[in-house]
Symmetry: C2
Subunit: 97 residues, 2 copies
């Protein structure tokens, strides 16, 4: 299994509405990318100071499935339309489990 993990920080332009567009856009990918087996997304819960703002955890059967997701045009559209316009920084890891 491949677990893909990404954490974002947002710019000051990241209104709640724009962040909700990120969430909705990512969740819709579950309908079009069958390789995406499990998806957990959302904003930081505000328990600790100094955190990143948003997390994505996505599970795939294998590397090929992850790469289909990574490069899928619908995913790239979410990144271009909703994520990049409010993105300040990004940290990512893929775990092979």
């Amino acid at each position: 299994m491949i677990r893909h993990i990404v954490l974002f920080t947002w710019t000051d332009d990241a209104t709640a509405e724009r962040v909700e567009e990120v969430t909705a856009g990512l969740r819709k990918l579950q309908d079009v990318i069958p390789q995406l087996r499990s998806l957990t997304v959302g904003s930081d819960a505000g328990i600790n100071q100094g955190n990143h703002d948003y997390a994505v955890v996505a599970d795939f059967d294998d590397v090929d499935g992850y790469v289909v997701y990574r490069d899928h045009p619908d995913h790239q559209a979410v990144i271009a339309r909703h994520i990049k316009p409010i993105l300040a920084s990004r940290a990512a890891v893929q775990l092979s489990l």
Copy 2:
């Protein structure tokens, strides 16, 4: 449910042996912190450039369970003995699911 996600980058001092000590230390916490319901840890799979080096995904029933883990002396000992000596940067999010 609370999902706690942390990504690390390591310094040049992070040998494979020292990273394995991080993994072993974190996994042992499952035996002493019952609030820690699920733990996924490991090094980046090397699929993409520019990633962080290591990820921790830990699930808890609620915020109280997460805080027990966060502040547990055995966890703090792993951080002090194994993580901080090789830590370059840290990115974290807690998701409330």
